[in-house]
Symmetry: D2
Subunit: 137 residues, 4 copies
């Protein structure tokens, strides 16, 4: 069990008011929980910048009727076999697919995979969610 | 089949050089494909701001040993049953879980779901990937 | 809360011994729990035979290098858009894919989907898991 | 590219007629494709009996309001971390969940995992799909 510490933060009343409004809007039980999230967000970014092992998800939107596109996306994924854990496929409508690829590995490889997939001609939109493996967090 | 148009863009040589380097780094087959992606990215943001039907993914990292946390996350997800399509669960190690929730619906509801999940005490990190249903894109 | 009832079952000692060994092997906490599972298994089969709304999963094993196969599988899935909830894709190795399709709907449609997918030339193996939506169980 | 061979099968006209009707019902393009599937089905069963590396999926139906159940299922899954690849979770309605667990590993371990999960008190129904990794098939 981690030891709980407490410290003070000095800041402008106006900034605190705005922040507290956000804390309520975002359903946080208290201000400290919101601060902890901000700090962890910074730590996750640090893991990505320093090349630590990270985790995340890539989303892709595409029309599955474009045959070459579908095959290209699958080839790229098999080339990154060590990085990718599994993917989830949702048929949004008769044409559009949402594919979500879960991965764990080096930030550089993850970025390269996301770039390779998103830049395939016909991919309508792609995002890269950068998160953590949860270790040391 | 959409009609192909061509237009000119005036800009600084230096900016173009930097952009072209990025285009190569990101594996784009040509500069126009990279521009199309930037434009679509803007359109996706517009869909989110205007409250159109959108799609996306929420990632959560947490320790499954925290019982109340696990139950709380599942309750929230069942409360947003109409929004959530399915979720993918990866056991990163003996303690840490990566959960990826695919959704389709209103941006406001999606943001509210992401906030509700991320603010649960014990969630180490959460992200919200904002993408599109692919319609009108 | 459901009312608990208790009733007797007459049977051969030898059959009971064999069954109890199975109960232990399968980690059941007690014999009654094992009986409840057997009874529910019968009820699930009844739901499938009577055309009630059911749920389940289809697994497919195939080589993603076979282009026409991949496209065919995706077309079929989009044709059964109302039945399929989402699918999970695992890259088993550089060639082989495991795809798991979650569905909810009529048993007849589910069987038709499973048959359509499994019979595509190049699918190495397919299974259909027949389960329930959990209602009235 | 595998060499194509052809061989004859002697059988009763009546049996052939019944089988051909099934071939048409199941959407097979030709009788040989149906035979290949039957043969592969036997080979998959052989892999399971001989303890070769196999793949598959476990489906579980349960009410997520039963807290202990949810936690128990997650603990078991983390104990079989090496076997499980990922799982897919569908919220069927406000109470009922469909969870589909993809795995790769030894048949014995897979059976043990399926038994452990299905025998948890409160699991309404469980199935085990036995398929193959696609190697040597």
């Amino acid at each position: 069990m981690a030891k709980l510490v407490r410290f003070g933060v000095s800041l402008d009343q106006d900034l605190l008011d705005k922040f507290d409004r956000l804390v309520r809007e975002k359903n946080y039980s208290c201000r400290s929980e919101a601060f902890r999230d901000l700090m962890r967000q910074e730590l996750v970014q640090k893991q990505w910048h320093e090349g630590k092992e990270v985790a995340g998800a890539i989303t892709l939107i595409y029309d599955h009727h474009k045959r070459e596109l579908v095959n290209k996306l699958m080839d790229i994924q098999h080339d990154f076999g060590g990085l990718i854990i599994s993917s989830q496929h949702v048929h949004l409508d008769h044409s559009n697919c949402l594919e979500i690829i879960a991965f764990k590995g080096s930030p550089k490889e993850a970025q390269r995979l996301a770039d390779s997939l998103t830049s395939v001609k016909g991919v309508k939109h792609g995002t890269l969610s950068m998160t953590t493996t949860g270790k040391d967090m």
